[in-house]
Amino acid sequence: MTSYCGHCGEPLDAGSHEVCVRKLELEPPRFCADCRRRMVVQVTPASWTARCSEHGEITKPTWS
């Protein structure tokens, strides 16, 4: 279950995250949505990969 904002790391039910959602259109998440750990993030020209030490890795192409 997603509990934390990927941009600011705060709980999703703590206030509005509208600004965070807009910012995530132009940057990858930095915090794990499950545990709010800071993730190790690598941005490449066409994708990003974010790795949480507890919850694994997400890779997302940003264009194809």
């Binding site: 600011c8 915090f31 800071r38 993030v41 941005v43 020209p45 994708s47």
Partner: protein
């Protein structure tokens, strides 16, 4: 209004017709010109670009080879280890680096810049560069550039031997404002690396970041200092305030000021590649991006940046096609 019209008339005669760059006081006059004059100013900057550089646009992609954990304290940068930025340290391995170069070439770029968040390269980084540049040159038809911080003469020579054709090292800010931006090294140290690069035969890419709280006078000073270096390319970044950095709460630059800056830099650097770099998506949006390409810009970074995301390259290429601006072919200098 007549003083402002005189400004453009003088700039037209000096820069467009004779190819002589504006000096600092003239750049300041451009930067402080009115909003009403902006369309005419952009049109003049576009004419200057077309006359002295031509219609082609150079397309580049960039990648971060070593992200985060930087010992320097550049106040705009999320990769400094001195701030509470959420960016964590990570290295790209050589196969991933080659893949990034392939992605960049597939996006239509002729230039691929490898960037590392360091004060200067150590032997581990230089070794990674040797292996990575060799692997890219074997696999991908693309020019390789690098940005690895401050260099020694031996490191400059090593990069030349590797076949790195262009080196990026930004002044970032005017000399008078630099101490407000960075305290862990000096503006003069940056200048020294730029001079070594230029003397080596590599092309010098030296740009800046605007919208960091500098005065308009300091922006003019910066343009004049960049012009004095005679770089092959000037990447123009607009501050994208990063969480956790000292500049994290600064506002975005006003879009009209950003466009005036583009035009002023073109009139200060009539023959230089002037590249859209970071922050344009937020500061200018789609419409402003188009205005800048019709106001002096003749190069773009496509795809993602080092720690943030960019537009879909297809959108940028479609815009260039719409503007009848051909993409520069590989191995052809503008």
């Amino acid at each position: 209004m007549s003083v402002q019209s005189d400004l453009l008339t003088a700039a037209r005669e000096q820069v467009l017709e004779k190819g002589i760059a504006l000096d600092e006081s003239q750049i300041l006059a451009v930067l402080t010109s009115s909003d009403e004059l902006l369309p005419e100013l952009l049109a003049l900057a576009h004419d200057v670009r077309m006359k002295w550089c031509g219609p082609e646009v150079e397309v580049e992609g960039i990648v971060s080879l070593k992200t985060g954990g930087c010992p320097e304290d550049c106040h705009f940068c999320s990769q400094s280890g001195q701030f509470t930025s959420p960016v964590r340290s990570v290295w790209l391995n050589v196969p991933e680096l080659v893949k990034a170069a392939e992605q960049t070439a597939a996006a239509g770029a002729s230039e691929f810049c490898i960037v590392a968040a360091v004060r200067g390269p150590d032997e581990r980084l230089m070794s990674q560069m040797r292996e990575g540049v060799k692997a890219i040159k074997e696999a991908v038809d693309i020019e390789v550039a690098a940005s690895l911080g401050m260099l020694s003469q031996d490191q400059v020579d090593d990069l030349v031997d590797m076949g790195v054709h262009r080196y990026n090292h930004n002044l970032e800010a005017a000399r008078s404002y630099f101490p407000q931006v960075v305290t862990t090294h000096t503006w003069e140290e940056r200048w020294d690396t730029c001079e070594m690069v230029r003397a080596s035969g590599m092309e010098l890419c030296c740009g800046c970041l605007v919208g960091m709280g500098e005065t308009v006078e300091q922006r003019a000073e910066l343009a004049a200092q960049l012009a004095a270096l005679e770089p092959h390319e000037v990447p123009l970044n607009f501050l994208n305030p990063r969480p956790g950095t000292p500049f994290g709460d600064l506002p975005l630059m006003d879009s009209k000021d950003a466009l005036r800056t583009i035009a002023a830099f073109r009139l200060a650097l009539p023959r230089t590649i002037l590249r859209y770099a970071g922050g344009r998506e937020l500061t200018l949006g789609d419409l402003g991006t188009r205005d800048g390409l019709l106001g002096g810009i003749n190069a773009v970074i496509v795809g993602n940046y080092l720690t943030t995301l960019g537009r879909d390259p297809k959108e940028d290429l479609a815009l260039l096609d719409d503007l009848k601006m051909p993409i520069k072919a590989l191995s052809k200098s503008l």
